[in-house]
């Protein structure tokens, strides 16, 4: 019986991007259903009743919510190819730790960068760069957080990499001089086939970011 894989998604979302990338890394065929976040579909509300957020992966009718849960799920179900998490328990723990760090430390400042101005925005910038620097130090001289291979932490970060340009323009700062090694890894990730196919033009994301900023009256 063929697998039915549906992804409830929103095109500019860095979290939706993570799910798309993971599915493509595994070569899984899936159907995307684009959500209008201001008019959420009955399916989204039924499949993620608590948070009502995308991405939601619906695999043979059963929902999986929360982007990095979705990525882990994809890795566990399609375990016969291109592993996303390492097999060694200690390395898996490290990967999970850093993904938790990414979502804890980047999430709020990343949003505040385009939602706020003045002192609040400056604080957000400082927090964002500080977190990126810690991540860069963890990356070290590895091409990817996963070592030689693109892995769990890289997928988590690529969602944020897709918004780097918009963040820089709206925050009026540059990430590369602060984190050159991380930027090099980011560029490597952004060139990956699964990523290229999963992300929209950075121009479009920037355009959206400007529009959103206006809505927030900033």
């Amino acid at each position: 019986m063929a697998d039915e894989v549906i992804l409830l998604d929103y095109w500019p979302s860095p979290f939706g991007a993570r799910a798309r990338i993971a599915l493509r890394e595994k070569g899984v065929e899936f159907e995307t259903r684009e959500e209008n976040l201001r008019d959420k579909s009955p399916l989204l509300l039924q499949m993620n009743p608590i948070h009502k957020k995308i991405p939601v992966l619906i695999h043979n009718g059963k929902p999986v919510c929360e982007s990095m849960n979705v990525v882990q799920y994809i890795d566990e179900v399609w375990s016969d190819r291109n592993p996303i998490l390492p097999s060694d328990p200690y390395q898996r723990a490290q990967a999970r730790f850093w993904v938790d760090f990414v979502d804890t430390k980047l999430f709020e400042p990343a949003d505040k960068l385009w939602q706020t101005k003045g002192e609040e925005q400056e604080t957000a910038k400082k927090d964002y760069i500080e977190a990126l620097k810690i991540l860069e130090s963890e990356l070290g001289d590895k091409p990817y957080f996963g070592g030689d291979t693109f892995g769990f932490v890289d997928i988590a970060m690529t969602g944020y990499y897709s918004w780097f340009e918009a963040s820089e323009k709206l925050g009026n700062f540059s990430i590369e001089p602060e984190c050159p090694i991380l930027m090099a890894s980011a560029k490597r990730c952004l060139q990956r086939e699964s990523v290229v196919k999963s992300l929209h033009d950075s121009e479009k994301i920037l355009e959206l970011a400007y529009q959103l900023r206006k809505i927030y009256c900033v």
């Binding site: 695999h59 999986v64 849960n69 566990e76 328990p89 898996r92 723990a93 999970r96 730790f97 938790d100």
Partner: protein, 227 residues
């Protein structure tokens, strides 16, 4: 008993009243893994703690053969990946994803809302109580027809949710604010009784009298009125 050799070194840096530290003790005990416990003082952090968890400088930290792991949910998964007997997470990927989802809800939302109940007063406290109850309703529904979140036996979500059973529900008695009344949450109360019937839980949760005294002392220190 654990499958691995008893000569492996397992050390836990923790704090006796911390729910995040105790959940690691529950997991290790469930798996029959011997460990050395090192009580930490987070008001005066040891150089060992700072060295082993430089990012957050917090407990718990599990040290296995010299290698440190931080963040309680990460540690729980590590324990499950390393000692394969008595699995904590379900085998099925969809059920695993669901377990992870509930664990995050408890730690990121229920815990935060519950802390506001303690920390706020008046209208703000009432709002926090309502917010906490709204979230707890999801757990209430999830428990229907089950002895534990894990089904017939203790699992990942039960271990994480001990925060509700033995921290939130002990604090509410002291606060005089019934956040989790049995009339609204009969399933959660039934589940707590099931937990208290489990030997590992009984062994690993803080002893009630000492724990209540500790919470009361902390409330006094923070000028929070106790009942």
């Amino acid at each position: 008993m654990a499958e691995r050799s008893d000569t492996e070194e397992v050390k836990l840096l923790g704090m006796w009243p911390s729910p995040f530290s105790r959940r690691i003790e529950i997991a290790l005990t469930l798996k029959g893994v011997p460990y050395e416990f090192s009580e930490q003082d987070i008001t005066n952090k040891s150089s060992l703690l700072l060295q082993l968890n430089p990012v957050y400088k917090m407990i718990p930290v599990l040290v296995h053969n010299g290698k440190p792991i931080s963040e309680s949910l990460v540690i729980l998964e590590y324990i499950d990946d390393t000692w394969r007997n008595n699995p904590i997470l379900p085998q099925d990927p969809c059920e695993r994803a669901t377990a992870r989802f509930w664990a995050k809800l408890i730690d990121q939302q229920i815990c935060v809302a519950a802390m506001k109940v303690v920390g706020k007063v008046g209208d703000e406290r009432d709002a926090a109580v309502e917010a906490t109850r709204d979230l707890l309703m999801f757990l209430e529904k999830e428990l229907a027809g089950k002895d534990f979140f894990g089904g017939e036996s203790l699992g990942f979500v039960d271990i994480v949710a001990t925060l509700v059973a033995f921290w939130l529900m002990r604090t509410e008695d002291l606060l005089g604010v019934k956040v989790v009344p049995v009339e609204l949450f009969p399933e959660i109360h039934r589940w707590v009784k099931n937990l208290l019937g489990n030997d590992v839980i009984k062994k690993c949760i803080p002893p009630e009298d000492e724990h209540l005294a500790y919470i009361r002392a902390r409330m006094d220190k923070l000028n929070i009125k106790s009942a």
